[in-house]
């Protein structure tokens, strides 16, 4: 089924390509979101990766799995974006448009109130590479081999990082009932575009 879609897309069928985009949009977006903390940069990286996919689709061999290829394209784009080392930013278009049309941030508040404070605190105490592996595994739902691909690390390294991260989390959650820092620890994660 997917092979057929790929072949149709290779022939220039936009509708078939859109099905592929829809199918893998969450995977690619989440992966980029983990690799690039800046939301706008992550969205740009995903967009560029999909354009790369479209432009290079003629080279893709039908019958091979599309997912690892897409993840490679996404991680390449994220690395390029990270190399530019742009400062963290908030895009004007999204923020301004949201605020001007609708100054209320109802769900932003509601959603932020749902954050697991204890877990967030425990995660924040992990080394950054362990945090990333955990996020790629449990947010992007990548397999360990895929995490190795997108991070450029060896599979064994990924496994050991994930092992240490989970062990650390378990231990911290059991022993550390850290007080909540409710006001300022929320991510910029309003329920908005």
């Amino acid at each position: 089924m997917e092979d057929e879609l790929i072949q149709r897309a290779q022939a220039g069928d936009h509708a078939a390509f859109r099905v592929l985009v829809d199918r893998y949009a969450v995977l690619t977006s989440r992966t980029a979101r983990v690799l690039l903390a800046d939301r706008a940069a992550a969205e740009d990286a995903v967009q560029d990766a999909w354009l790369d996919a479209w432009r290079n689709l003629h080279r893709f061999q039908a019958g091979r799995p599309l997912r690892p290829w897409l993840l490679t394209l996404v991680s390449n784009r994220c690395r390029m974006a990270a190399r530019r080392r742009l400062p963290p930013s908030v895009t004007l278009d999204g923020a301004a448009e949201d605020q001007l049309v609708d100054p209320a941030d109802v769900a932003g508040e509601v959603v932020s109130a749902s954050l697991d404070v204890e877990l967030a605190t425990a995660l924040s105490k992990l080394p950054s590479e362990q945090q990333r592996v955990v996020e790629l595994r449990f947010f992007a739902d990548l397999e360990l081999a895929e995490i190795a691909t997108v991070t450029g690390a060896q599979l064994g390294t990924v496994k050991s990082r994930l092992h240490r991260a989970l062990a650390n989390l378990q231990a911290r959650l059991l022993q550390d009932q850290t007080p909540a820092l409710a006001t300022l620890q929320r991510e910029e994660s309003a329920w908005q575009h």
């Binding site: 109802v106 449990f138 947010f139 360990l144 909540a180 994660s189």
Partner: protein, 499 residues
């Protein structure tokens, strides 16, 4: 006890409980919310695909030019415009649990100030010169107390404290702003960290490299200059973005607007369907008539109403100076006093600071509130009577997200029923409760005491670090995550090596 292997599941050396796995999934889903919708991704992609995936020589050239152009000028779809302070404050303020909706101190970055000023300028909600409130907020087993003070648009302070059963302070987190100076502070286990910055770094003539420590209090016109400068930059950036995007590009702005429009349309439909359930109190404004107006008529009516109210306020103040009406209720007396102060403030405002101007809490009617809620939570809000919260009459509004999710492809919000209590006079949120989809109470917030129009010493809005505090002077180069990390708030890393 499950284990993991290459597929993340069966390696005996990596223990992970199903509970932890579920918590991680849930946490990241919320922490990274909102996620990009596939539809929006496609809207951005489609115009750039061309006819065939096999690039022609011309297309390769185009691609090369596009990359070169991006390398020189940044991505056309996303202009990174906001300065450090705006980004940092937005990150800190927008998501704050004690800033539930629009009724909390506005984010104070220059860009954010412009946004909020614009939003407030089109609101006809009653103006409030100041307030002081105490509230409690709880999430799970944790309960914190909140205290807020605000005078005008540019002076506020909010503190959230957590204490143990004996009353000992476990943590205190807050923000304060006094004109162009802003502070974010946290005290945990006796250690205080303070981030301080100077919003005037965004003013014309500043190169953006000045630090907060160099900034003295600016003149009363500083905020106005700041706003004017930001608006100019915003207009220039919008023009530049449009030029860069060209005729073929589908900008994220337009797609976002289109998406927002779809949401607004959907909200209108929901409200129309729920019209019969909106039992507006006699004391409320003419919601039905406003709801039926066209946007143009609505703006005209709003303007007339504003002008009439302003005239009425001055007239009321003039006529009531010598006499106290007999039989006036305490609430009416309070309102009259407020009008007198507003009239006085209005006559002095031309020479005064924007920071001390009265402000509004957001949407100008119950319908406006319900529309906003409907757009955000994608459900049909219903008013379910009235209750008294902290001595104030409040509308009770219940919304249950639509099981079919939002019409713009966001899917269903990860929350269930949400109940708001809204001050009938000011539209300030006095209380809210948020339930999980399965029905358990997840979080709540409730104002326990509230005073409008109270005198508050100016010193309240200046944070003085205690001895031994660690102070971070924020510069335009300081990332929001650096600030969060400094305050020990744990927002993680940039994911690509930068701690």
């Amino acid at each position: 006890m499950a284990t993991l292997n290459e597929q993340g599941r069966t390696d005996p050396s990596v223990p992970v409980t199903p509970e932890l796995e579920q918590r991680l999934h849930d946490h990241f889903r919320v922490a990274h919310n909102p996620e990009a919708a596939p539809d929006l991704l496609w809207q951005r992609l489609a115009p750039q695909l061309g006819g065939s995936p096999s690039p022609t020589l011309g297309q390769r050239g185009q691609h090369g030019v596009r990359l070169l152009f991006r390398g020189l000028a940044g991505t056309p779809s996303r202009r990174r415009i906001l300065g450090m302070s705006a980004a940092a404050v937005l990150a800190l303020a927008i998501g704050g649990a004690t800033f539930p909706l629009w009724d909390r101190p506005a984010p104070a970055g220059a860009e954010a100030q412009a946004i909020v000023a614009k939003a407030e300028s089109v609101s006809t909600a009653p103006l409030v010169p100041s307030y002081h409130l105490r509230a409690v907020t709880s999430q799970g087993k944790q309960s914190e107390s909140v205290e807020e003070w605000r005078v005008g648009k540019g002076r506020w302070r909010t503190e959230t404290t957590l204490r143990d059963p004996s009353g000992a302070l476990l943590s205190l987190v807050g923000t304060a702003q006094n004109g162009v100076r802003q502070w974010a502070f946290s005290t945990v286990k006796g250690q205080t960290h303070v981030a301080v910055w100077d919003l005037s770094a965004e003013l014309p003539g500043n190169d953006g490299s000045s630090s907060a420590s160099a900034g003295a209090e600016k003149s009363p016109d500083a905020n106005q200059l700041q706003l004017a400068n930001q608006q100019k930059r915003q207009a220039e950036a919008a023009m530049l973005a449009k030029q860069q995007a060209g005729a073929t590009a589908s900008s994220s702005v337009s797609s976002a607007v289109a998406s927002k429009q779809a949401l607004m349309d959907d909200a209108k439909k929901r409200l129309a369907a729920a019209g019969a359930s909106v039992q507006q109190d006699a004391s409320a404004s003419s919601v039905g008539a406003l709801g039926a107006m066209s946007p143009q008529d609505r703006r005209l009516a709003d303007e007339k109403q504003r002008l009439a109210a302003a005239g009425s306020a001055r007239q009321d103040a003039a006529t009531s100076e010598s006499a106290t009406p007999a039989g006036m209720s305490p609430q009416d007396q309070q309102l009259l006093d407020q009008k007198k102060r507003l009239a006085a403030a209005g006559s002095a405002s031309s020479a005064g600071s924007t920071a001390s101007q009265p402000f509004a809490f957001g949407p100008d009617s119950l319908v406006g509130f319900m529309k906003a809620v409907s757009m955000k939570l994608c459900g049909t809000p219903q008013q379910q009577g009235s209750e008294t919260i902290a001595g104030r009459d409040a509308y009770k509004i219940v919304i249950v997200p639509d099981a079919n999710g939002c019409p713009d492809g966001r899917g269903a919000p990860p929350v269930g029923r949400t109940i708001f209590w809204l001050d009938k006079q000011t539209y300030m949120q006095l209380k809210w409760e948020q339930y999980a989809p399965e029905g358990t109470l997840q979080a709540r917030y409730e104002v326990t005491s509230l005073q409008y129009d109270v005198p508050i010493p100016d010193s309240t809005f200046t944070y003085t670090p205690p001895p031994g505090a660690t102070v971070l002077t924020v510069t335009p180069q300081t990332g929001k995550q650096d600030i969060a990390a400094f305050l020990n708030l744990g927002t993680g890393t940039d994911g690509m090596g930068k701690p």
